[in-house]
Structure formats: C-alpha cells, structure tokens
C-alpha cells in the first residue's frame, strides 16, 4: 500500500515542518497561558501552605488577612492560646511594599512573625542559604529572586536590616517575592505613626514605638483536635472570625485570584479557538494546493476514502508535530517568565486531546473540498 499522506509530506517536507513548528509556537503560547494560570493557583496557596498554622484568627466579619484588611490586637494571641485544643498562638503581619535595588523595582510582601515563636512561618526546606530569623530586631530573610545577598544591609523605614537568610520558591499569594522580618520590626514598619495606633495605644495605656497590632493570629492545634470545632469555639469566645487552613486556601482561590484566573482562562480559550481556526485554514489551503492531484486521483479511480484519509492523516501529523514543538517551545521559555509557570502533564494531554479533535474538525473543510472536486477538472480547462 502507498500512504499518500506520508508521500506528500515527504515531498514538501521543509514546508510542512515549518508550518508545523509555526502552529506549534502558537500552541506553546497556549501551554504557557495554562501554565501561568496553574502558577497563579499554585502561588495563591503556597504561603498559607508554608506557614505551619492550623487556624487563622482575623478581625471580625472580614476575610483577612489576604482577601481583606484585618487588624487585631497582638494580645489576642494570649486569649487564643488558652482555648481548648490550641497548642500555640502567635501574631503575624503582612504588608505590601515596593523595593528597589540594582536589579530594578519590584513589589514585595513583607511578613512579620515572632522569631522566638513556635510556629514555623518559613518553610525550613526552602531556606537555601543562611537561617530563619533569630533576633527580635534588624534581621531579614529574603526570597532569592530579590537578588539580595547574605549579609547585605537593606533599608526599610528608618532602619537598616541585615540579610540573614535566603529562601527559594517562596511567594506571596499574588506571586510576589517575600521578605521576612521580626513581628516587632514589622509592626513598626506597618503601623507606626498612624492615628489608629495612637488611639489604641492610648486606650491600653501603652506608650512607645510598638503599636501592638497584627493582621492575624495564627494558631497551631494540639493533636487530635478538629480544627473546625476549635475554630467555632474561638469565634464564640472572642468575636473574631476564624478560618481553618483549608478555608483560608479556599478563600484565596475564590476571592483573591478568581477574576485574574478567569481573565487568563478566557484568554487561553480564545487562543485555543484561534489555533483551531489557523489549523483549519492551513489544512484547507494544503487541500486547495493539491486539488489538481485530487481530481486526477478521482479520475483514475481512487476512492474518496483514500483521498480523505490522506487529508486527515496530514492534519493529524501536523497536529501532533505542532503539539510536540509547542511543548518544547513552552518548556524552553517557561523559566523566563517573572512569575511561576506550572506546566502540568495532565494539561498537556488535555490540550493534546483538544488539538486532535480540533484537527479532525479542521480537516472537515478540506474533506468537503475533496468530495466536491469534479474528476473532469483534471483535464478540463
């Protein structure tokens, strides 16, 4: 048997390969878009997953601290730690700041936590140089991508902070780099000189630099306690809002990144449709280019089935080659993106299925042309 598709591709090999690679680059962009979407979801969860807390206690009726601003007094942690089932409770702050160094300007989420506390806020596996915070003042741990070096001094507010640790793959829920300072330093950076601080301090008879506010109190539970039940009890006792770790992650996905992920989803869907239209056009053009040969084949007695098989096989081969080159392209450039791009095998296969089905649909126009071609066209004219 003679496979017409293989013979035709072999005959115009370079052209076919270039076409496949071009479509592949388009598919590569689709793959990257899906990866960016996955990256957003991954990043959104990462910080909450890294912080080894079971409960998040935030200002009443807020969705804090990420989806909504939340402020609670630091001493709340003492009340929480007395609750049944709670092992430790500590204050934590989050603040978005702009940084600038020789690598440019970038957004950073500054996390303040108690260096002497028992709840691990920095995932120890992610510290690639130096250590976590130890002292209560003027130490800082930074994400590797900020390009700060160990021992480097960074000015924040009115003070200089020494880099004591570097982390890898630590990001905020929005995909920004992280910097960690002690809770005391963070409180000064975030709350000093605000009216709120002055009022609350006066009410409590506190005088001094530290406003004693935090964005949330995180708690670690004793073994064997159900976080949902403990959360409910704390809510009843303190009139605060309490989220379990799972609820906090859900909140991040639903409230914080929903719109942007929808945005990317739409964009991806449009790109997929555009790719399908382009594949259809290419197949149709390839069929038109062969219309003379097709009418000769029909004239000498080759069946429609055999000719349609040729068109379909060429379409599938084009789709497969484009898919392979698209994946290679995506993998080559994924690392160059500033935020996380997560290329999942499952997504690649799903796209593959879509492309194959789409290719078959795309060849419909070509097949229609085959069926309509009059064999006498070969000798006519």
């Amino acid at each position: 048997m003679i496979n017409l598709a293989f013979k035709d591709i072999k005959h115009s090999f370079t052209k076919f390969i270039i076409t496949a690679i071009s479509v592949g680059i388009l598919l590569g962009i689709v793959i990257i878009m899906i990866g960016v979407y996955r990256g957003m979801i991954f990043d959104a969860k990462e910080l909450v997953k890294d912080i080894k807390a079971d409960l998040w206690v935030v200002q009443q009726d807020t969705l804090g601290p990420f989806a909504q601003t939340s402020k609670v007094h630091e001493d709340l942690k003492d009340r929480i730690s007395y609750q049944d089932g709670v092992k430790y409770a500590e204050g934590i702050t989050f603040q978005n700041i702009q940084m600038q160094n020789s690598y440019g300007a970038f957004k950073v989420m500054l996390v303040g936590y108690d260096p002497l506390g028992k709840i691990k806020v920095i995932n120890p596996n992610k510290i690639i140089a130096g250590r976590a915070l130890k002292n209560e003042h003027y130490e800082i741990v930074v994400s590797q991508k900020t390009h700060y070096k160990l021992g480097e001094k960074i000015k924040l507010g009115r003070d200089y902070y020494t880099v004591v640790g570097i982390t890898k793959n630590t990001v905020s829920n929005g995909g920004d780099y992280l910097m960690f300072v002690s809770l005391k330093d963070a409180q000064i950076l975030q709350f000093t000189y605000t009216n709120e601080r002055i009022r609350s301090d006066e009410a409590r008879g506190i005088k001094g630099d530290n406003p004693h506010l935090v964005n949330a109190v995180i708690a670690k539970l004793k073994d064997g306690y159900n976080p949902k039940i403990v959360a409910k009890n704390i809510e009843d006792a303190t009139h605060k809002t309490v989220f379990t770790k799972g609820e906090q992650i859900k909140l991040l996905l639903q409230r914080v990144i929903k719109k942007s992920s929808k945005q990317i989803g739409m964009f991806t869907a449009i790109l997929i449709i555009v790719s399908i239209v382009i594949i259809a056009l290419i197949i149709y053009t390839m069929t038109l280019e062969k219309i003379k040969e097709i009418s000769i084949l029909k004239l000498i007695g080759i069946s429609n089935l055999k000719i349609i098989k040729m068109i379909m096989q060429e379409t599938l081969i084009l789709g497969i080659l484009a898919f392979i080159s698209g994946n290679i392209f995506a993998r080559l450039i994924a690392g160059k993106f500033p935020k996380r791009v997560v290329l999942e095998l499952g997504d690649a296969w799903a796209l593959f299925a879509v492309i194959i089905v789409a290719s078959i649909f795309a060849s419909v126009f070509g097949v229609y042309k085959v069926l309509k071609t009059d064999p006498s066209e070969a000798i006519g004219g």
Binding site: I2, H11, E293, I300, G301
Partner: protein, 249 residues
Amino acid sequence: MSDEFLMKNGEKQMNNIAIKVENLVKKFGKGENEVTVINGADFTLKKGEFAALVAPSGAGKTTLLMMIGCVLEPTSGRIEIGGEVVYDNKWTVKDDRALRRKKLGFIFQAHYLIPFLNVEENVSLLPYENGEPEKVVKPRVKGLLDYLGVGDKLKNMPSELSGGQNQRVAIARALANNPSIILADEPTAALDTKRSVDVVKLLRKIAKEKEVTIIMVTHDDRLLPYCDKVLTIVDKKVEVKEQLEGVII
C-alpha cells in the same frame, strides 16, 4: 435491436461486447448558451478491439471518452461497459470510481502523474488499491516500465523526467491495473514517431493478447493501420469505419 442481436449471435457473442453506446447525446450549457457537442453516438466495440477515434479539434473526442469513462455525465442515451449498464438517461453505475480503477485505464494528452509519488508508486497506485499483493504488482510494474524504456527510472520523481518519459510512465500506469478497456486521448502526442509506433504496437499487442478494448484518439494517420476500426465524428454524429484491410498485426 439487442434482442435480435441476442437471437442471432447467442450468449457467447453477447458476453463479447466491451462497450456499447446507444443514442448518446451531450449538450453543454443551458438556454441560449446550450451547445450540442455529440448528437447521437451508436456503436459497439468487442473485447480485444482496437479502435482509433479521429476527428478535428473540438469535435467532441475527449467528451466522448469521458462519458464512456463515467467521468462526464451525458445528456441522454445509454452506455454499457462490460455488460454493465452504466448510463441509461441517468447514471446507473453503482460505483464509478471502482469501475474505473478495476476495469478502465486512462491515458491523456498530458501525463497527469502525481507529483509527490515516484514513478513506481504512480504506476503501482491502482493495483494496490485493487488489493493486489506486492509480489504480483512489483514485477508487473517493473516489466511495464522496462518495456516502455523507463525501467531505470523506478525511484525518480516525475519532475526529474522528460515529457516523453513521463508520458510513457503514464501509459504504464494505465496498463498496470490490467484494465479491460483503455481510453487513450492522444497518448502519443508527446512522443516522437518511433516511440509513437512502439506505443501503438504495444497497445495492439495488449488488445490482442489480453482481449483489452482500446479507443485511441489520434491525429497521426500513420498509426491508423494498427487499428481494427476507425471512429469519426461527422456533424456531431459518431461514424464507424471497419478497417478490415491493411491492418498490421
């Protein structure tokens, strides 16, 4: 008429008919633009008969061949191919494509080879499509190409061959599926006299040895002595001249 024929000549003669055309009419266009090209063709060709079709340019020779080949739809009339009525005022052929690839061989003025297939593949296409095995097809194709003087071009692409070489490959393709009828439209137009005579001799040999019926359009009078019959188109009607004398065998 066919009943009479049956009674006179019996079953055997009836089976002997390869092409039977009755009252065939072909008009192109509609209304004011209507042109009648063939206005009545009635003839019968027996198995193994080699007929020439000679008529001026534009007389309707290609049109007639294409109607017999079930490629072009007649306006009215009746066509029978190898005992099967393929047209009776409308198409009655079940699968014209299968009829062509199993029973017919086409040769055109131009070679019409498939540019992305090499010589061997072009010639093997139909036999393979008919389900013939490689061990039968390969030697037959090689033999045909050898006979036509292009046996050394098996793996060449048509673009690498001269016009005359391609035409001979095209003739091999028309013979490769062992057709019972060959419709040849000026097959030797692209060949020199020596090659033309060789090809016509080959066609005659095939007609006689394999009982293949051939209609060959030609403008070359020197080829007529190799044919059994001469068909012409006069005043849009097809006329038949038996050529009993002077046939070269």
